[in-house]
């Protein structure tokens, strides 16, 4: 889980071009959107693509995505739960 979380942080930084952010700056349990990293709905769509590409799991709708993408931790939990 820890390794997955760390990898996810690196993947997020790369996919969203968060140049000045380091993996250790991202709080695993803090909300990614709005206040947290200041991400928006376009980032959410990018993260949905990222999860499918890197982890092979498809999120069906933006609505479903909302809960999954709440924090790095929720994403990691979703991936572990759905990994075949």
């Amino acid at each position: 889980m820890d390794e997955l979380i760390n990898n996810l942080k690196i993947e997020i930084i790369e996919a969203l071009n968060l140049e000045d952010v380091k993996a250790e700056d991202i709080d695993t349990e803090a909300p990614l959107f709005n206040e947290g990293l200041g991400l928006d709905s376009i980032d959410a769509l990018e993260l949905i693509v990222l999860i499918e590409k890197k982890h092979g799991i498809k999120i069906q709708s933006a609505d479903e995505g909302k809960q999954i993408l709440y924090s790095v931790k929720t994403i990691a939990e979703f991936i572990i739960k759905n990994k075949k």
Binding site: S41, I42, L45, V49, S61, A62
Partner: protein, 401 residues
């Protein structure tokens, strides 16, 4: 005293008909043009229904008397169809007799041909037939259509996403008001392309079923294709040719939502501004509007935002409204032109065209779209909304004469 702007002709092609008569019949009979694609070969062709024009490129070329070998994007072919019809409908015999301008709108332009080119090109940069990439820029279809109708006058191309052709009609009207043109053909065309289908798919706003504008269960839009153009003329120009106008373009309003790159603001402020500017520009009151042809894409976000703006502007006394995108699909850059034609048809035929697939009122709203055809309605003023990505919102008001 600014000049008035009259409409003397209309032309349309869409998934519900290849000309004005066919489109009118489909609208009256509540026919939808949304199907699984026959001509566009996307991997999603059996998943996402689209509003496809029921003619191949070669069939369009035949109707336009163009050689099979002529290089025209589908956008250009659709544009030529609707523009030719509008000119005929307006009974124009000599296109250059008056100072005539052509303002056209598109978002994809020749993307269908660029897709063919890129398949070879990305594998080997020295490959790919160059004739396919020459149609890429948005001005290409404008030029080809202008050449087809042998126009010498001013031309311009507008590209503001899904409000593109509403803006081209607005700019055309302002050219006439400012005495810079006597007559303007304005509207827009957009063809289906893998680019837009996949683009909207990445936004997760395409419905896998028929779209359901303003319905509580709506879950996205259906992309369509087509073209819609109108001929606008000054009063003097009409008098000189002894023609009677079919409608008047009474008002227009353009405003920016300035909220988000793709989403509309939750309160629909930009939509409210565009509608209120148009009503002010027409010098009428909101209660003079008899019918609103809404933008109504069927996405959760648009319909909520637009619905709240409607309740706001009409002070909860909202007139008949419907989204004809439920029949035609969302024709992107062409939608403003197509819905301009449909708004004029509503006035001419005294009919409110319905929103298809509506069942359940949205819980956030107190209003429902008109879901059945209503005949014999005296329609004086129609408000037509077109809202685009980036909050580029435009409203037009068409009036009876």
């Amino acid at each position: 005293m600014k000049k008035k702007v009259f409409i003397s002709g209309i032309g349309i092609i869409s998934s519900i008909g290849n000309n004005v008569i066919e489109v009118l019949n489909s609208l009256i009979h509540e026919n939808s043009g949304i199907i699984y694609s026959e001509h566009l070969h996307s991997v999603y062709k059996n998943e996402m229904p689209v509003g496809e024009v029921k003619l191949t490129d070669n069939e369009l070329k035949d109707l336009l008397k163009l050689s099979d070998k002529s290089q025209n994007s589908r956008t250009t072919l659709l544009g030529m169809m609707a523009v030719s019809e509008a000119i005929k409908n307006s009974e124009i015999s000599d296109i250059n007799k008056f100072n005539t301008a052509f303002i056209s709108a598109t978002t994809v332009g020749g993307m269908d041909k660029s897709e063919i080119f890129y398949r070879e090109f990305i594998k080997n940069k020295t490959k790919g037939k160059l004739k396919y990439i020459c149609t890429h820029d948005c001005g290409e279809s404008t030029k080809k259509i202008a050449d087809k109708i042998k126009l010498n006058g001013f031309t311009a191309t507008i590209s503001t996403a899904c409000s593109s052709s509403a803006n081209s009609i607005m700019v055309g009207a302002r050219l006439i008001k400012n005495g810079l043109a006597d007559r303007v053909i304005a509207g827009g065309a957009d063809a289906l392309s893998l680019f837009t289908i996949n683009g909207f798919n990445t936004l997760m706003i395409l419905s896998h079923k028929h779209c359901r504008p303003f319905d509580e269960t709506r879950n996205g839009l259906n992309i369509g294709e087509g073209a819609g153009y109108i001929v606008m003329e000054s009063d003097e120009c009409l008098k000189k040719s002894g023609k009677l106008p079919i409608a008047e373009l009474k008002g227009y309003g353009n405003a920016c939502d300035a909220y988000h790159q793709t989403a509309s603001s939750p309160d629909g402020y930009g939509a409210y501004l565009a509608m209120s500017k148009a009503i002010g520009n027409a010098n009428i009151m909101p209660n003079n509007i008899d019918y609103v042809n809404v933008h109504g894409t069927g996405t959760p976000n648009n319909d909520l935002s637009e619905g709240l703006a409607l309740q706001n502007i009409f002070n909860n006394n909202v007139p008949y409204f419907s989204s004809t995108k439920s029949a035609t699909g969302h024709t992107l850059g062409a939608s403003g032109g197509i819905e301009a034609v449909i708004s004029i048809l509503a006035i001419q035929n005294k009919i409110i065209f319905p929103s298809l697939n509506f069942n359940q009122q949205m819980k956030e709203l107190t209003i429902c779209p008109t879901s059945k055809t209503i005949k014999n309605v005296e329609i004086k003023n129609v408000l037509s909304n077109s809202f685009g990505f980036g909050g580029n919102n435009t409203s037009l008001i068409f009036s009876a004469v």
